[in-house]
């Protein structure tokens, strides 16, 4: 079977009719003459006429073949089937199982089209080992390796449904590459929504693996609630809280719609104007009176192609106060001396303070809003918990009093610290390197309280544990500096979290920081300076894995449904469906469709240096190899033959 890359070029085949047409139009008319010796001529002509006719037809045929071969080559002819050079080459079909594939249209859902396309692809890969991978959260595959047998792949296709998450296409592609080994074809069947290629890096694929992007169709306008957050990120009973819902319009025209925002039992209808291709935010304020969990939801009128993202759920945990976790390894004199004043100051500021050592950091980190570390002995062990804390939007106050503290920055790479620590100061020569503060940035919320009281800062004399020769990072804000210019305090945002780095001990033996009121004033302003800037997202991405200590159950979008237990495997529960989940300990967790999945507008693959194939094209070309080199050879041979035959005719003339 032959298919064509550029079917329009088949129009050139009309030129192939030129030789016979020109021959007919320019054919000489024979002059009629009487000739008595006709019988003799007939004997002479008997063989010659037949030969001449044959030669003439052969010349015409060869010219036609040459032109037709060139036209077919220009059309990008591809042969497939048993002739193809791809026979026996393994292939894996990855089907996009992200939330956008649930989009419904007049001709069925994107998923049904993709599933049908994948089925056709698998059928067309008849002579080749093949497998199918469903790119959902998590990915599922029909077999560990591509196999000739088709049943398992078709069965997996038939029983699979798209998830509500991002599909994890990147991981699924990586899995498919691993299944292919060194060589093969990888087909990714997707709706080409904006988020469909997230995590895919074609340049990172092995050169021997051919990546085919198969367009299953879909796309269109969509209105969705793409964000639900509260500010500050930590809800404290008795303190005002703002709940925000962000509505996006992924369509060609602006819309005016009404958002139903519900916090606990309180519901509000809010009008909103959303510009085309943009988003708008609606919000409401409340002051939670008691601690516990609040269910939050925002909903826009449904009716578009993707219903899952018209309502977004979230969960707010209202706490009595901010929770601070002070971590230090107590067997170190410096650490113990630094931690005590810190913990005391945090407690005096009204925070719920707990203390642990480095070994307990991982277990306690999730239950804290502010993490304070000083004198960490094992930087490598502490780094993962610190990273998770920052990525979850928490604040980290890093007090550098030892080698372990300085080493955490290295262990957190590529997350860069607010400033890099230089060499350790030799205490014998520097007499512990005590130096007074020289500069302060008083316009920062953390130091705003010292306006008019700058002398307090000027009285602080402290030992510097590290020089800071590199200065602050590009996006870091230096807050305090010693008289010699080395940095004492700086902060920088890390994702939605904050990293505050203090190159100054709070131990009384090392500095006057804790003896004056400076430390207490700094700590008291920590919640205001760090946490209000954080607007916490109230839902996790659907499809994500959640570490759970005990059981977890799905309770629906509004929390009213009966508990549906969710399987916990290796301490991880998969939040497959959007909505609310109840933890066995009484907590609430929400999952929502990832915001990029709501943007159903089609992505131009050329932007990422890819080209998409239609399903028909991919199906017909799945077992193909290019025929144009052979067609050009055929054209050349035809022209050589034509020259030889035409030359022979001229020689005989």
């Amino acid at each position: 079977m032959i298919t064509f890359l550029v079917p329009a070029a088949l129009g050139l085949l009309a030129i192939a009719a030129a030789p016979p047409v020109v021959h007919l139009l320019t054919r000489r008319r024979a002059q009629v003459r009487p000739f008595p010796a006709l019988a003799l001529l007939a004997r002479v002509q008997a063989g010659r006429a037949r030969l001449s006719r044959l030669r003439e037809r052969a010349v015409l045929s060869l010219r036609t073949i040459a032109i037709a071969a060139c036209a077919l080559a220009a059309a990008g002819a591809l042969v497939h089937g048993s002739w193809s050079s791809t026979a026996g080459r393994p292939a894996v079909v990855v089907v996009d199982g992200s939330a956008s594939m649930r989009q419904a249209g007049a001709d069925g859902s994107s998923w049904s089209r993709a599933r049908s396309a994948a089925g056709r692809l698998l059928e067309s890969l008849r002579a080749r080992p093949r497998a199918v991978v469903i790119a959902a959260n998590p990915a599922r595959r029909s077999s560990p390796r591509p196999v000739a047998e088709l049943g398992a792949a078709l069965a997996l296709l038939a029983e699979s449904e798209p998830g509500a998450g991002d599909g994890g296409a990147g991981e699924a592609i990586a899995a498919a590459v691993a299944m292919l080994g060194d060589d093969g074809d990888l087909y990714f069947v997707t709706d080409l929504a904006r988020g469909s290629l997230g995590g895919i890096d074609p340049a990172a694929l092995p050169k021997t693996v051919s990546f085919h992007l198969v367009d299953a169709g879909g796309g269109g306008a969509n209105v969705a609630v793409v964000g639900l957050s509260c500010e500050p990120g930590v809800a404290i009973a008795g303190r005002p809280l703002t709940v925000q819902a962000r509505v996006a319009d992924y369509g060609p025209s602006a819309i005016d719609t009404r958002v139903r925002l519900q916090v606990g039992s309180h519901a509000t209808l809010l009008d909103v104007h959303v510009p085309a291709g943009g988003s708008s935010t609606v919000s409401c304020q409340l002051t939670p009176e008691s601690v516990g969990f609040l269910a939050v939801s925002a909903e826009v009128p449904s009716g578009d192609a993707l219903a899952d993202d018209d309502r977004r759920c979230g969960a707010i945990e209202v706490v009595s106060s901010l929770r601070a976790l002070v971590v230090g390894d107590g067997d170190r004199n410096d650490a113990a001396g630094a931690i005590r004043p810190l913990a005391a100051a945090l407690g005096a500021a009204g925070l719920d303070v707990r203390s642990t050592d480095g070994a307990g950091l991982a277990a306690e980190e999730r239950r804290s809003d502010i993490l304070v570390t000083a004198g960490i002995a094992d930087a490598a062990a502490a780094a993962p918990a610190v990273r998770a804390h920052l990525q979850a939007g928490g604040a980290w106050v890093q007090v550098i009093v030892g080698d372990g503290d300085a080493a955490i920055a290295t262990a957190l790479a590529p997350i860069a610290p607010p400033f890099a620590c230089g060499p350790r100061i030799d205490v014998s020569e520097q007499e512990r390197g005590s130096m007074g503060l020289g500069q302060a940035r008083l316009d920062h919320p953390l130091l705003a309280g010292f306006v008019g009281r700058e002398s307090l800062l000027g009285e602080v004399v402290s030992y510097r544990y590290r020089l800071t020769p590199g200065g602050p990072a590009a996006d870091a804000v230096p807050l305090l500096a010693y008289a010699d210019g080395s940095l004492a305090l700086a902060e920088r945002p890390v994702g939605s979290g904050r990293w505050l780095e203090l190159n100054c001990s709070s131990a009384a033996i090392d500095s006057t920081l804790s003896r004056s009121s400076v430390l207490a004033m700094l700590v008291a302003r920590l919640p205001l300076a760090l946490l209000p800037a954080r607007a916490a997202e109230l839902a996790r991405e659907a499809g994500a894995a959640l570490p759970v200590a005990a059981g977890i159950a799905y309770i629906g979008a509004d929390g009213a449904a009966a508990d549906a237990p969710v399987a916990v495997i290796d301490g991880q529960a998969r939040l497959a469906r959007p909505g609310l989940y109840r933890l066995s300990g009484g907590g609430l967790v929400a999952a929502a469709v990832p915001a990029p999945e709501s943007d159903l507008r089609r992505l131009d693959p050329a932007l990422v240096h890819l080209s998409a194939e239609s399903v028909d094209r991919a199906t017909s070309a799945s077992g193909e190899s290019p025929a144009w080199p052979w067609l050009l050879v055929l054209a050349a041979l035809a022209l050589v033959g034509e020259s030889w035959l035409a030359g022979g005719a001229r020689r005989s003339a």
Binding site: A30, V32, P36, A39, L41, S52
Partner: protein
Amino acid sequence: MISIPDVPRLARSGALELTARRVVEGLYAGRHRSPYLGPATEFADHRPYAPGDDLRSIDWRAYARSDHLLVRRYREERDLPLMLAIDTSASMAYGSPEKSAWAAIASAALGMLAIDQGDRVRVCAARDGAARWTAELSGSPGANALCAELSELRWSGAASAADLLAEIARRLERRSLVVLMSDLLGDPLELARQAGVLAARGHELVGLHILDRSEVELPASWGLVSLSDPESAHAPISCDAAQTKVAYDRAMAEHRERCARALAGARAEHVAVVTDQEPSEILGRWLHRRARR
């Protein structure tokens, strides 16, 4: 040089006679002898001397007696009348000049030459299976009648030299010199067979193989041409004359050679004639060759 008139002009017997006479005069001027040169075995009678007669045949004694130049005639000569066998098929009406014109002039010339020398001449013209015979012609009236007869010939229909020879062999009782005027486009084997029959009956045969130049050498300048046979129902043949010429010319040469061999096999002469050649030259050369035999 004698130009050969076209057939419509030759149809007037006067024109034919005039043209033939000029040919005969040319033959006389070349001192060609009569074609009848059989062995002189028995004296028959005298006849008046005519230019071209061998001086050795003049009876000088009779001259002394009568004061007229008389030539001796022998029984042998007198018993070998001239039979002009003419193929009048349509194919003879082809050429430039037409083969028919050449044949008519040559026939008239030979006939008049024979009559002038006191011999009898008959004409047999055949086409479409029918033969037209004349009575034996002699003397001045005979010459006129011969020209009239030749002028009235119609060159059409189909005929073959072999059929003509067969007709002559069947009907001609007296031993004769048969001069065949034909393009001999038929089967040489059949020609050989009928020539053999004729020879077996004591006739002497001379075949004038008359062809047009275009039949001997196919003109390449014709280019792409559709050729039709004026005589047979053979379907027209289209060919490129330039491409076919070499093979055709070779085939025609072989055909002429086969015809010559066919006649030679019957102890007959083959005289190749192309119509652009002078009749007097061709006939003179033949007579000269015959005289030397």
